[in-house]
């Protein structure tokens, strides 16, 4: 399992209803089903991933996040999850609002664009940063809305979103002294648990 998911799963209550936006191959939902007996629902648009979800026995709905979530009722899920997808959607702010409407609490993970390596690459080479968490060229990247930890903190402040937990981790999804000291500089991936 991807390491950010290791952390997230601790925040998900047993027997709860979980909506995973961009659920990929469904492995995480399958894991939560097995370990926590959650009621699962995943959204995905990739054809191969959808088939993998079906193979894993995960409930998957072919639906594009950019076309909205108006078909989901308010407060119909306990937790709404968006892992490593925020930066790919057309309007991250609207999606965050929709997540808050549908779920009692929400979890978002994203690659922190303000990590020092990214800053250094932009500063020294003047090129759009590439890294193992951001492996794409500027022209073919699905990541159209990069954001930083500071940016997301500000969004939460402005929208009266209550951050329950915030964890900043590296590739092995461990935290360190430096990351805790300067998350926006040293954190590679950000994980937020929030509500309203």
């Amino acid at each position: 399992m991807r390491a950010d998911l290791e952390i997230i799963q601790q925040w998900i209550a047993p027997e709860s209803r979980v909506l995973d936006l961009g659920c990929g191959d469904g492995a995480f939902l399958a894991h939560l089903k097995k370990e926590k007996n959650i009621r699962d629902c995943g959204l995905e648009i990739d054809v191969d991933n959808i088939n993998l979800c079906l193979q894993a026995g995960v409930n998957v709905i072919e639906q594009d996040l950019n076309k909205g979530l108006s078909n989901f009722e308010s407060d119909s899920f306990d937790t709404v999850l968006l892992a490593h997808t925020l930066q790919t959607v057309e309007r991250p702010d609207i999606l965050v609002e929709e997540m808050l409407r549908i779920g009692k609490n929400c979890i978002i993970t994203f690659p922190n664009f303000a990590h020092w390596r990214h800053r250094l690459k932009l500063l020294s080479g003047g090129n759009m940063p590439q890294s193992s968490s951001l492996p794409y060229e500027w022209y073919d990247t699905p990541n159209i809305h990069h954001c930083t930890i500071r940016d997301f903190d500000r969004l939460c402040r402005e929208r009266n979103i209550k951050i329950l937990r915030r964890t900043v981790v590296d590739f092995t999804h461990r935290s360190s002294f430096l990351m805790n000291l300067h998350p926006n500089l040293f954190g590679i991936n950000a994980i937020y648990h929030f509500t309203r």
Binding site: Q55, V58, I61
Partner: protein
């Protein structure tokens, strides 16, 4: 010499006519006292009777969903869903016991308008009562009782078949574990009903229709039924499917306008291939299908709307259901387009049901649900693979508790 049957076929099958003598009270208030259902089964029912799948057919389908009837007839086509049913196929007969029937009111052996009415010694014809999807499902539940099946592992159907699946989940929530609804809609739209009404008018305005008593006159409304089928057939295809089918002329991209004889006739004879194709399809159908059944089933379609008993809120109809759902639509289907399947999905979400949904890219129109489209077949295979795995787990558990006892 006997013909060669493909290895992944269920092989030669023999339908069975099953008699029911418990009166069936219909939605309309009419009662059918006794009736027969023509049934085919494929695979073996396991000892726990937990591996049964019910296949529900659409307008022109019947019990013959897979395999062959004749060992010698080289030209015989297999059953209508043969690409899905068989050993190793999506509906794997090594794992599942598959039941397929001709619905009540049909014309392939089950009691219907062309059956002899014992009271008059003549075919029921127009006297046969209007049957609704609810009535069908009720008769299918009796069939399940007869076969000793308390709970289906899955009930599966496309188009009108999908509507029967929905009705199963609503009427008998405890009697199915999975519902697979393909290329369907929660109810017909005005446009859908309009096409059905044109089909009915074609049939009833044929002088050979004789108010539905054409059997008594030794004839049938060939022209009317042909026309009805021609209209229906167009709605099952898509514009692009027709362009491909009738546009093989390599010299120009001609939008499916291939000529029948290579030149225009400048008369009202057939000019384009699409015309002769439709006429051929319509005529063939008219010689094999009963006009009264066609009328009846178009009404069955028009009447389908399970929300009527639930203050027109379909989510309330699904509230008691306990099965899991798989809903599939096809992009070029304009008879029941993806938006209609999405309505089903959204309703199920509202009813807090477990649902998966696929919108399969396909050019073949509504007919796509009968075709071996790789993504579609893979999805069915994947989903039913899990159904089979779950079955084993369940049976193991029962086995363990039985041993412990």
């Amino acid at each position: 010499m006997a013909k060669t049957i493909p290895e992944d076929s269920v092989g030669l099958v023999t339908p069975e006519l099953i008699h029911f003598d418990e009166p069936l009270e219909l939605r309309s208030g009419s009662v059918i006292n006794v009736y027969d259902l023509m049934v085919e089964t494929y695979g073996e029912l396991n000892a726990e009777k937990s591996n049964a799948i019910l296949i529900c057919h659409a307008l022109s389908g019947d019990h013959h969903a897979a395999g062959y009837h004749d060992a010698d007839d080289e030209k015989e086509k297999p059953g209508w869903w043969d690409n899905c049913i068989g050993p190793g196929k999506a509906f794997d007969t090594n794992l599942f016991y598959i039941v397929s029937l001709n619905n009540l009111g049909g014309c392939a052996g089950s009691t219907g308008p062309s059956t002899i009415n014992p009271e008059t010694d003549k075919p029921f014809g127009p006297d046969f009562p209007i049957i609704t999807v609810r009535d069908w499902v009720k008769s299918q539940a009796r069939l399940a009782d007869y076969l000793g099946i308390d709970q289906w592992a899955a009930v599966i159907g496309g188009s009108l078949g999908g509507m029967q699946v929905m009705r199963w989940a609503i009427s008998y929530p405890q009697r199915l574990r999975h519902a697979i609804i393909i290329a369907a809609a929660p109810k017909l739209s005005a446009q859908n009903i309009a096409f059905n009404e044109i089909a009915r008018q074609s049939i009833t305005s044929d002088p050979d229709f004789h108010a539905g008593r054409y059997h008594d006159h030794g004839t049938y409304p060939k022209r009317g039924l042909t026309l009805a089928r021609m209209i229906g057939h167009v709605t099952y295809l898509s514009d692009s499917a027709m362009r491909d089918k009738f546009g093989k002329d390599a010299i120009q991209e001609n939008f499916g306008r291939d000529l029948r004889t290579g030149k225009l006739n400048f008369s009202y004879e057939v000019d384009f291939q699409v015309e002769s194709y439709l006429q051929y399809k319509g005529e063939t159908f008219s010689s094999q299908f009963d006009a009264n059944t066609y009328l009846l089933i178009t009404k069955t379609l028009d009447y389908f709307d399970p929300s009527v008993d639930y203050e027109f809120d379909l989510s309330k109809a699904f509230a008691q259901s306990t099965c899991k759902y798989l809903v599939i639509s096809f992009t070029s289907d304009w008879r029941f387009p993806p938006e209609r399947s999405k309505e089903i999905v959204d309703t199920l979400l509202k009813a807090k049901q477990q649902v998966s949904y696929l919108e399969v890219e396909a050019d073949e129109g509504h007919d796509a649900f009968l075709l071996p489209i790789p993504r579609y077949i893979d999805a069915l295979k994947s989903y039913l693979g899990c159904v089979a795995a779950e079955l084993n787990k369940q049976d193991d558990k029962q086995g363990v508790s039985a041993d412990a006892g």
